[in-house]
């Protein structure tokens, strides 16, 4: 069926609405990466198998829906029953029968599957009321976790493609750009460049053709927002791109997806095929003059390809080395033609901005950073997962109110934002408002939205070493200061971790950082020393402890610590069986001992001991 007019799209939407009304109860099963690892695919199958045989009022086999990431990964696998919003967490296949027989048939709630706040012991029945969700506001993630990403009808019934219809019905391309500019939307990929300005530059460029690219090369370790959007709501990315194509006069676009996201590729491809089938992509979209088609380009596992010029070269089938940007890529981009390149989350915001208007969007967030931002919460935080919050929210609110605080109620040490190019912010910065400029002014950056929380058992010198090692491997090698400079910086950092660093070398590292920043072409090199610079800015005392006292306050750097078994040991033998160096001896139910000479400080014993009987000295 080709939808060749806007009237037909509206009619189709109504038809789906009527059909879906028949399904009164919906059972949403999250198939995001976290829940999937917990076996949510088996839970889905079990629901379908049992419901095929059982007849329950208002519940059909079609009631069972697979969705993308619902966000609260720490509590996965989760099952949500709508319209009541009943939230069952940590569900296992064996619970399915119970859920069907008790909740679906009799309307009883299974209390042991509900979420219980570990601090207040309050039990929540409905997901929207849980503090993790209550503080959020979803725009880019509005459909993720709510709809079946494989079903275009699910997207359409939730208002999908109505923004596209709106512009085709009565907005000129420059009016669309005007709305995007007025909304104040800034690129969600990290740099925070004005989306409207980018679009207007491309639209005005005289050379043809114009291209529209979507950056789905989410390479920052610790970030998975774009993954969840591409997997959980692929059509919103498509709609955002089609609107962009209309605005800037493009007929061809690409979505660049990183190799590590195979499911995103599958879901996007299905969305593209469906959109084409129904006449939402290809020639004469919705019966108008708009012609635009899309292809997926798969990355090859190179971090630098997230950089605009490198990404464009990679799409063109070349190696992803960045170029000097005397002329910006919006003018000379893919195949040297004008190109709009926006991030997945940026495109996901577009349909809503068009639908609800620029003023509505601009009223959310802060003056200079409007709207909301998706973040992935990870690290040593209780409520790990995917969130979307208004800009301007305090770091503290994200980490404590939404994130639930630090694991095991340990002490907060730092939060890392912005990936390898970003930085670590300490406890006295928790009152900062999260927006593009505030984070940058404080030595970190918004980045794509990864937020990794660290507790007092994290060594900041080791964190710097980790990121530098990452960047050494990922530097494309074109600019000498980046290729050689980062290599030397990492080597010096490693020396400090081994307790062999000197104070002079710390100064040398700071100088070297300046050279790397000023002598590199692209963002990777220019921000390469950031992990070191931001950690030494806020945690100089830790560097000094390593250099002056050969101590690692976080208890991480292997050369500077020893493990010792204390009197609490009950001789359970867990540590002994895991010790690869055979350094632990002892009999069952008797206190064990560690041979310091044999011990290679791998930390496995510490990780497996359940009764804190191992000390790090």
């Amino acid at each position: 069926m080709k939808i060749d007019s806007i009237a037909k799209l509206d009619k189709w939407r109504k038809e789906i609405q009527t059909k879906q009304k028949a399904i009164k109860t919906k059972i949403l099963i999250c198939l995001g990466p976290g829940c999937l690892a917990g076996g949510s695919d088996k839970i889905l199958k079990e629901f379908q198998t049992i419901l095929k045989k059982k007849k329950i009022k208002d519940v059909l086999v079609e009631s069972v829906k697979k969705t993308g990431c619902h966000g609260f990964c720490a509590r996965g696998p989760m099952v949500i029953i709508e319209p009541l919003g009943i939230f069952y967490s940590k569900v296992k296949k064996v619970h399915v029968k119970d859920i069907i027989e008790k909740t679906l048939q009799k309307g009883e709630i299974i209390e042991k599957l509900l979420y219980k706040d570990p601090d207040t012991d309050k039990i929540y029945k409905e997901w929207r009321k849980i503090p993790f969700y209550a503080r959020q506001q979803k725009i880019a993630l509005r459909n993720v976790g709510q709809i079946d990403p494989d079903e275009i009808t699910d997207y359409i019934v939730n208002g999908g493609y109505s923004a596209l219809a709106k512009i085709l019905k009565g907005m000129k391309p420059d009016e669309v750009i005007d709305q995007v500019s007025k909304s104040g939307l800034r690129g969600r990929g990290g740099a925070g460049f004005s989306t409207g300005r980018k679009w207007v530059t491309c639209a005005k460029a005289e050379e043809n053709p114009h291209y529209v690219l979507c950056n789905g090369d989410e390479g920052d370790p610790g970030a998975f927002m774009d993954r969840c959007i591409m997997e959980g709501d692929p059509h919103t990315v498509l709609e955002g791109m089609i609107i962009c194509a209309y605005a800037v006069g493009s007929q061809e676009g690409y979505i660049y997806v990183r190799e590590e996201y195979p499911l995103a590729v599958v879901n996007l491809q299905k969305a593209i095929d469906d959109a084409r089938k129904f006449g939402l992509l290809g020639d004469n979209i919705l019966g108008t003059d708009l012609c635009f088609d899309l292809k997926i380009s798969k990355g090859g596992g190179a971090f630098v390809c997230g950089e605009s010029s490198a990404l464009m070269r990679s799409v063109a089938g070349e190696i992803g080395e960045p170029r000097a940007k005397y002329v910006r890529s919006v003018l000379k981009g893919l195949h040297d033609k004008p190109t709009v390149l926006n991030n997945v989350e940026t495109f996901a915001n577009i349909p809503v901005i068009i639908e609800k208007g620029a003023d509505w969007f601009a009223a959310i967030g802060t003056k200079k950073s409007t709207g909301t931002k998706a973040f992935s919460l990870a690290g040593k935080i209780k409520n790990t997962g995917l969130i979307e919050v208004p800009m301007g929210i305090k770091l503290k609110e994200i980490i404590y109110d939404i994130g639930g605080g630090i694991n095991d109620n340990r002490k907060f040490k730092a939060v890392q934002t912005g990936g390898p190019s970003g930085g670590c912010l300490p406890a006295d910065k928790l009152d900062l408002e999260v927006d593009f400029d505030t984070l940058a002014d404080n030595g970190s950056m918004m980045g794509s939205g990864g937020m990794v929380v660290m507790d007092d058992r994290t060594c900041m010198v080791d964190v710097s070493r980790y990121f530098l090692n990452f960047l050494v491997e990922e530097s494309c090698g074109k600019c000498v200061p980046c290729r050689e400079g980062l290599f030397q910086l990492h080597k010096l950092n490693e020396k400090i971790c081994e307790g062999k660093g000197t104070e002079d070398e710390l100064k040398l590292m700071e100088n070297l950082s300046k050279t790397i920043i000023s002598g590199s072409l692209c963002g990777l090199g220019q921000s390469g020393p950031n992990p070191f610079l931001s950690t030494i800015m806020y945690f100089r005392d830790e560097y000094e402890a390593h250099v002056k006292k050969q101590e690692c306050p976080g208890g991480v750097c292997k050369k500077l610590i020893t493990y010792k078994i204390n009197d609490d040991c009950n001789g359970c033998m867990a540590c002994l069986s895991v010790c690869a160096a055979s350094a632990i001896t002892g009999k069952k139910k008797e206190q064990h001992t560690i041979d310091e000479v044999k011990c290679d400080r791998c930390g496995a014993c510490y990780a497996v001991c359940n009764i804190n009987a191992i000390d790090i000295i």
């Binding site: 990466p33 976290g34 999937l36 690892a37 917990g38 990964c73 720490a74 996965g76 989410e218 390479g219 920052d220 370790p221 610790g222 970030a223 998975f224 993954r227 190799e259 590590e260 996201y261 195979p262 798969k298 990355g299 090859g300 596992g301 190179a302 971090f303 990679s314 063109a316 089938g317 070349e318 190696i319 992803g320 992935s376 919460l377 990870a378 690290g379 040593k380 790990t384 997962g385 995917l386 890392q416 990864g450 990794v452 660290m454 994290t458 964190v463 980790y466 990121f467 990452f470 990922e474 494309c476 867990a574 069986s577 895991v578 690869a580 791998c602 930390g603 496995a604 990780a607 497996v608």
Partner: protein, 151 residues
């Protein structure tokens, strides 16, 4: 390991003869053989009419390509930031103790290859290990080898 050049040629022939498709063609070959056999560099260069050096440079620039044969089972240990601070190194150590190989290596019987990946975007359940596309979250280091052997 000997791979029939005709088989490689067949994969290549099924791809569009377009220089822009270089990376895609290499990805298709790797999908079929789990690595890029030596012959593929020459065959692709002929097919696309570009120097072998260009094909080789792409094959070595992108991390996902392997020029050496990989094992039947690919174990990926994630070393993203969240996994790093939650003990990804412990998993690597324990796998070394359990199956005797380090990241980048393959067991002699060609059964296992361990690779370190930069971030698989499953940070909420760090540390993460992937065995043949099956995700394992919150991996306890003492269970790593068992999970691998179970598959």
């Amino acid at each position: 390991m000997i791979i029939d050049s005709n088989k490689i040629q067949k994969v290549i022939d099924d791809s569009p003869q377009d220089k822009k498709q270089l990376i895609m063609i290499l990805q298709n070959i790797q999908l079929e053989f789990h690595y890029l056999p030596k012959e593929s560099i020459g065959l692709v260069s002929e097919y696309l009419g570009m120097p072998q050096s260009t094909v080789y440079s792409a094959a070595t620039f992108y991390k996902s390509f392997s020029l050496v044969p990989r094992g039947e089972n690919i174990i990926k240990v994630c070393k993203g930031t969240a996994c790093h601070i939650k003990g990804a190194d412990l998993i690597i150590d324990q796998l070394y103790a359990g199956i005797g190989i380090k990241p980048g290596q393959t067991t002699k019987d060609m059964k296992y290859t361990i690779e370190v990946v930069n971030c698989v975007g499953a940070c909420a359940m760090a540390p993460v290990m992937i065995v043949n596309d099956k995700y394992f979250g919150e991996v306890k280091c003492n269970r790593a080898t068992k999970l691998v052997k179970k598959g």
